[in-house]
């Protein structure tokens, strides 16, 4: 292939699926660089995906939002079983989720939670079930995996990072880790794919360019234009920000009047 073609293929607007037709159903993640790693070009439907993370706020939900938003418009439901905090409706709506298709389930006990997850997965009325289960044995996980298969539902389990060492029948297992400037995904298991890869993802901007994972701090030298991570910006809206000094990492405190938060917005 010549350079021009390479150049073209690197365009963020162009999606390539690694396999022409996946043998298993997938849900496009909405992130080109993520789809490039996920076998079949997306999250595996009718299976469990495990998201392991230790803190909140790492982008562990935003990672799934483009896919969930799409599923919520498919006529089926998105169920959340036992969310640890309030799933904040205005933000979810901003991510494109159809709130009228969201079902919140608040079980009072762990055993009830597991039962509710299984029911929701098995019923076939939910396109996706997000769950925050407590301790799960391998047998329980397998039950959930079977329920997801029989209900044709995408099950997403959020579990602590310490679970990384335990075996699991989930189709995809990934660890989400914080990074001073974004989110790093570590693929612990990919059914039909190669695990062990790492990806640094700007979860706020679906379909952006791949950034290589670097061990050193990102160089934010003067003159370098960075795309700011606006939380929950609409895809397609990017805010220009003046370059930041590397040795001035924080806003001065107490804060003087800063310009209005709705800065200069430009349609890409």
């Amino acid at each position: 292939m010549n350079d021009a073609l390479h150049e073209l293929l690197r365009q963020p607007g162009i999606w390539r699926t690694t396999h022409a037709t996946p043998e298993f159903p997938v849900i496009p993640s909405g992130f080109a660089e993520l789809d490039a790693i996920l076998p079949g070009g997306g999250w595996q439907d009718r299976a469990l995906t495990e998201v392991l993370h230790d803190q909140s706020g790492l982008g562990e939900l935003r990672l799934l939002m483009p896919a969930l938003a799409r599923l919520s418009h498919s006529g089926r439901w998105v169920a959340m079983v036992g969310p640890p905090n309030i799933p904040y409706a205005p933000a979810l709506a901003a991510q494109g989720l159809d709130l009228s298709r969201v079902l919140l389930v608040h079980p009072r006990r762990d055993s009830d939670a597991l039962w509710a997850v299984e029911q929701a997965l098995r019923s076939g009325t939910c396109a996706a079930v997000l769950a925050w289960p407590g301790q799960l044995s391998n047998r329980q996980l397998r039950r959930l995996q079977l329920a997801a298969e029989s209900g044709a539902t995408w099950g997403i389990l959020f579990r602590p990072g310490a679970m990384a060492g335990h075996a699991s029948p989930a189709a995809i297992r990934l660890r989400v880790q914080g990074h001073p400037s974004g989110t790093t995904l570590e693929f612990l298991k990919l059914r039909n794919g190669n695990a062990g890869q790492k990806l640094q993802l700007d979860v706020n901007h679906p379909r952006t360019r791949v950034l290589p994972v670097t061990t050193e701090k990102p160089a934010g030298g003067p003159g370098l234009r960075t795309v700011s991570s606006i939380p929950h910006a609409h895809p397609g809206l990017v805010r220009e920000q003046p370059p930041r000094e590397p040795d001035r990492p924080q806003l001065p405190l107490p804060l003087e009047e800063t310009p209005g938060r709705r800065g200069h917005l430009r349609l890409v």
């Binding site: 706020g57 904040y88 205005p90 608040h106 009072r108 509710a116 938060r261």
Partner: protein, 475 residues
């Protein structure tokens, strides 16, 4: 006017034995003898009039029950409630009969044969066997039903002829009247009709001729219409104590069908109902159950009960169950689709899931999610019960997780800390609102990043002591 008479010859037996499987031999007995028995018992050789000991010898597992007139009256009332779905004029004929005016219902139900089939089938599902008859007068239909003559009579001359064949013992008579008729050597109603009325009146009293005239339609018979109850209360005493939920559900479906028949009759549904299970030395277990929208579909209500029963361990065997629907809700009027309307049909799959979850996890455990037009973050979202319509106003500057209560942050050198000092990213967004309802707030919100990479939503109180708080995560 066309009257359909329903005669429940085995009501005293069927009412209490409904709760156990049909192949269980059951019989009603007084102190010494069998009065009625069901088919299963008859199959084993039990006959009415047989001694208790003989019946027990022939059928060792037989359930011998006592007649309970009070319960029978209640059962008949329940049947009258249920029958309201077929006719607006239902009249009771105690102790074991109902009269339905069906002239107005024929067209709706697609003719007499279909209506009768529907009623007989429905009663069979409720656990009752029935003898039916149709005639132009209520008394005539009732006499025919009791005689087991089921072919409909509309013509008056034919009615006279058919009634004439019946024995006079079917009439309601005092012992003196019976004796007198016996003494006269009469056998059938035709024999009575040939006698001069005046003589009959003088010798036997007005009541006999009145019954005859009413049966023939020569004299009107005003019937007392049965009124629909405002609440439903159905009770079933179990002949054999039920140890587990499958046998309870088996008995419960009879009550649910009865309830749903009533609801169809008065064009209503129930959203909430309760089930009381009575034990022998334990206080009763009460289960409260609900569906997401008023319904009158027995299977749907049963599914909810099944989950409810599985959730609650029973302290002991159940001897009786009682179904109570306090609030009967009218359903919006529709026309044309009396039998295939959404309230009768099973729930949509997602509702079925939500109802199953609700029944097991308890009230308020299944909710929807929506936004609310308010600047205060705590008030800008709502979580109504599942199935309610919601607003969807997007705000891209908000975190996906909101903490239920803001968490105070420690400060280090004047900077807020959460897993280390926080780097402010964006802000402030000043929110000052709510003075009118006593929950006013004045805050400056910032997006900040923690050293571990977490993106958090924090605010600083603008009133003393001007503390920092964590309010959400950009998860």
């Amino acid at each position: 006017m066309l009257w359909l008479a329903l005669h429940f010859p085995l009501l005293p037996l069927e009412n209490p034995s409904r709760g156990c499987p049909r192949d269980t031999p059951c019989a009603i007995a007084d102190r010494s003898r069998i009065l009625f028995c069901n088919d299963a018992a008859r199959h084993l050789g039990v006959r009415s009039g047989m001694k208790r000991t003989a019946a027990e010898a022939r059928s060792p597992g037989i359930q011998l029950l006592e007649a309970n007139p009070e319960q029978e009256a209640r059962a008949l009332r329940g049947l009258a409630d249920w029958s309201l779905q077929f006719s607006s004029l239902v009249s009771m004929e105690p102790p074991d009969g109902l009269l339905l005016e069906i002239g107005g219902s024929l067209k709706l139900f697609g003719g007499l044969p279909r209506l009768r089939r529907r009623i007989t089938h429905g009663l069979d599902e409720l656990g009752y066997g029935v003898a039916t008859a149709v005639a132009s007068t209520p008394r005539g239909a009732w006499l025919l039903a009791r005689a087991g003559d089921s072919s409909p009579v509309i013509d008056r001359a034919e009615l006279r002829q058919r009634l004439g064949r019946l024995p006079w013992q079917l009439l309601e008579l005092t012992p003196e009247q019976e004796q007198a008729l016996q003494g006269l050597g009469l056998k059938t109603l035709a024999d009575c009709l040939t006698l001069p009325r005046g003589e009959l009146n003088r010798r036997l009293g007005r009541s006999l001729t009145r019954q005859l005239e009413q049966a023939l339609g020569e004299q009107p018979e005003p019937r007392h219409p049965h009124q629909a109850p405002r609440r439903y209360q159905g009770r079933l005493e179990l002949p054999a104590p039920a140890p587990d939920s499958p046998s309870l559900l088996f008995a419960l479906q009879y009550l649910l069908r009865e309830l749903c028949g009533l609801l169809r009759g008065i064009d209503s549904g129930v959203e909430q109902f309760s089930l009381q299970l009575e034990h022998e030395r334990h206080p009763p277990t009460v289960l409260r159950m609900g569906v997401l929208e008023p319904s009158r579909h027995p299977q749907r209500l049963l599914a909810v009960c099944r989950e409810g029963l599985e959730r609650r361990p029973l302290p002991a065997e159940v001897h009786a169950l009682e179904l109570l629907a306090e609030r009967i809700l009218p359903l919006p009027g529709r026309s044309g689709t009396l039998f295939d309307d959404p309230f009768d049909s099973p729930a949509e799959p997602w509702r079925e899931l939500a109802e199953r979850l609700l029944a097991r996890l308890g009230e308020d455990s299944v909710r929807s999610l929506g936004t609310h037009a308010d600047h205060r973050p705590e008030n800008a979202w709502s979580s109504p019960p599942a199935g309610n319509a919601v607003q969807q106003q997007a705000n891209p500057y908000r975190p996906l997780w909101l903490l239920r209560t803001p968490r105070p942050l420690e400060q280090y050198q004047g900077r807020p800390c959460w897993n280390g000092p926080l780097a402010l990213h964006q802000g402030p967004e000043r929110l000052e609102s709510g003075w009118w309802d006593g929950h006013d707030l004045a805050r400056d919100y910032y997006t900040a990043r923690a050293p571990n990479g977490s993106l958090v939503w924090i605010y600083r109180e603008r009133r003393p002591p001007r503390g920092w708080f964590l309010h959400g995560f950009f998860a």
